[in-house]
């Protein structure tokens, strides 16, 4: 018997649901026509995506000279977006894998959408390095394959190559984790839909799942293994992303704090994005009984702790610069806080360190509009964190004669808008075609009301027959 049966814990879902209610409620958004709110959100996202596609097409056709980069600031908007999106993905893995290993049952209401978010965020992230190559059709050159140039192999000592392996592994494992979680739910949809396209598709995707306890037993083992693999993977991915910077000799990048600092920041930004999506999904999909105020409050507490870790990292960076005795290092940090881009630095500190502190108050955590404003600000702040790290470290380097300023071009901004368009278009479509909440998991974790013993008409005659047999048996048994 699961510990969620304890009467000391409040139920995970509200509304006194039976197992059948859970199936019905979660599958309902797939059956009814979308709300007007969904259509509005979808068309805005689609418009943003189209802008992005046009911008990407233009910059690939013309060349990346269309960006605002110069020879001092060689990495700016594009890599900021890349790190931002990879970071967003990390909270999805945190919720689906790390909280699973810690037996945090409340995760079941949000893990499916968090995993989907991971997948879409990593897709968005992957686009940016591809564009940055200038000739994305040669992307396969990054793979170690036998070629006619020698074979000349890729340089396995470069963190940029580690990144190729880390991001592609992360995308693949996230996709598998998500799909494995979907299989039992696909079977549920298959069994409740009428013959037609949906039944055919879910039949293929559910791989003939029949709910056998032997299969469930193996399935649970594999799910646990995948969670155990995804947990170190998520730490390795952002550690490697941080090494893209930390192994360079640029002051402001060349620090040992980067791996934990990046991982904490990634989870922080991802939690903010998950909460944003949860707040939107529960409203537009009418899932208030499943994604409760309690879930939002727990996300807030996680965000608060991550915000404090990130704040500590900002302070540590300044301390290390002061303590290093390295003039270049000290200058970079003074320039960050007081130089021409200090507005970006202070935006980051306000959004990431100061604003989340009001989450200490239970009243704020319980107010959904307040939480929504805070998570949006954290999303903005975490984008600026990457911008600050990348651009302020580069724009004034060792030689004052090579100092330069950086202003993003319209094309770069359009590409960022496009990535948001891709992300939200994918997410909104996902809400329509797949169960947003893991049906099988929430049934197993939630304290549900005993299903009433009423049956469908087709079952009834057999039951009566069976019960008659039972009575007969009881009579013959009696002395």
């Amino acid at each position: 018997m699961s510990d969620s049966d304890s009467s000391l814990r409040p139920p995970l879902i509200t509304g006194d649901k039976t197992l059948g209610d859970v199936t019905r409620d979660i599958c309902a958004p797939m059956d009814r026509t979308p709300t007007s709110l969904w259509y509005a959100a979808f068309f805005v996202s689609l418009a943003a995506l189209i802008i992005g596609v046009a911008a990407v097409w233009y910059q690939i056709a013309t060349g990346i000279g269309t960006w605002g980069l110069n020879k001092t600031v060689g990495w700016a908007f594009d890599i900021t977006n890349f790190v931002f999106w990879v970071g967003i993905g990390h909270a999805g893995t945190l919720i689906s894998a790390v909280l699973f290993l810690f037996r945090q049952k409340w995760r079941t209401a949000v893990n499916r959408s968090a995993e989907a978010m991971t997948l879409f965020a990593v897709m968005c992230a992957g686009i940016f390095p591809l564009i940055h190559m200038g000739r994305p059709w040669l992307a396969y050159w990054m793979g170690p394959y036998p070629n006619t140039r020698g074979s000349l192999w890729v340089n396995f000592k470069s963190p940029l190559l580690w990144d190729v392996f880390a991001i592609s592994t992360y995308l693949a494992i996230s996709a598998v984790f998500w799909y494995v979680g979907l299989i039992p739910d696909m079977a549920t949809i298959r069994d409740r839909s009428k013959p037609g396209l949906r039944k055919r598709i879910t039949s293929i995707l559910s791989l003939g799942w029949d709910g056998s306890a032997r299969t469930w037993h193996r399935y649970e083992t594999v799910y646990m293994l995948l969670a155990g693999l995804a947990t170190p993977l998520v730490f390795s991915v952002h550690t490697i992303v941080s090494m893209d910077f930390a192994t360079a000799v640029i002051p402001g990048w060349h620090t040992t704090i980067f791996p934990p600092y990046f991982v904490a920041g990634a989870i922080f930004s991802g939690l903010a994005m998950v909460t944003t999506l949860m707040l939107i999904a529960r409203k537009t999909m009418r899932l208030e009984d499943y994604i409760t105020a309690k879930h939002i409050e727990r996300m807030c507490l996680l965000m608060l702790s991550m915000g404090c870790i990130v704040g500590l990292a900002y302070a540590t960076e300044f301390f290390m610069a002061a303590y290093s005795g390295n003039g270049y290092e000290q200058f970079v940090f003074l320039n960050r806080a007081l130089g021409p881009m200090s507005w970006a630095y202070w935006t980051m500190v306000t959004c990431n360190v100061i604003v989340p502190q009001i989450l200490w108050f239970p009243k704020v955590r319980k107010s959904l509009p307040a939480v929504f404003v805070i998570v949006i600000l954290v999303n903005v702040g975490m984008w600026f964190e990457r911008f600050v790290i990348i651009v302020t470290s580069l724009h004034r380097d060792f030689l004052p004669s090579s100092w330069a300023h950086y202003v993003p071009s319209t094309i770069e901004i359009a590409t960022l808008v496009g990535s948001f368009g891709l992300f939200f278009t994918c997410f909104l479509l996902f809400c329509r075609i797949a169960p947003v909440i893991a049906i099988a998991e929430i049934k197993g974790a939630g304290r549900l009301k005993k299903s009433d013993l009423s049956m469908t008409t087709s079952e009834a005659p057999q039951t009566i027959r069976a019960q008659a047999a039972v009575h007969e048996a009881a009579l013959t048994e009696a002395p």
């Binding site: 193996r218 693999l229 039951t463 047999a469």
Partner: protein, 177 residues
């Protein structure tokens, strides 16, 4: 091979768990159980052994890590050694991240495909639910009837203690459906 089985349907996991334990203690053989979600403790109640898929995961992971370490060493030190900033060709620490990623990738895919193979899950497989609502809100216990000692009315009577919703006898062909 066909076998006669007794299907007992329950509406709650607690009833299924208690019934499974009772049926097993009374010496009957349980063929399988069908549930809409992973019922915790059902594997112990049915006496299922821990899955050996963990070994598949371990072996695939090791193969990924060792294979990639060898490949990195071979490309950087044997096939075409390139002097990058005077660093040693065969530096192990710089090989670790990619070897780790390869280990995770192979271990993950290996265990999932092993699960599909062992449980015979594949696209295009036709599913014949043993009872309706098995993926919704019903729990079915499948008891082997080929045992001569089994007396159907007695078992049915025993199952009523566990709020059985219905019982049905079936002839199943070829072991698992």
């Amino acid at each position: 091979m066909s076998a006669r089985v007794l299907l007992a349907t329950f509406a709650h996991e607690d009833d299924l768990l208690a019934a499974t334990t009772a049926v097993r203690e009374s010496g009957l053989r349980i063929v399988d159980a069908f549930t809409p979600y992973a019922v915790h403790g059902l594997d112990q109640a049915m006496g299922l052994k821990p899955s050996r898929l963990t070994w598949v995961c371990f072996i695939c992971g090791m193969a990924g890590a060792l294979g990639m370490l060898w490949f990195e060493h071979w490309t950087a030190s044997v096939a075409w050694p390139i002097d990058v900033g005077g660093k040693p060709w065969n530096s192990l620490p710089s090989d670790v991240p990619v070897a780790f990623e390869a280990a995770v990738l192979l271990a993950g895919f290996g265990s999932v495909f092993a699960l599909f193979a062992v449980s015979r899950l594949f696209p295009g497989k036709q599913s014949h639910p043993i009872r309706p609502r098995i993926t919704d809100d019903r729990f079915v216990l499948v008891i082997d009837e080929s045992d001569a000692a089994l007396d159907v009315p007695t078992v049915q009577l025993m199952l009523t203690e566990f709020n059985v919703v219905e019982t049905e006898e079936q002839v199943r062909s070829g072991g698992r459906s």
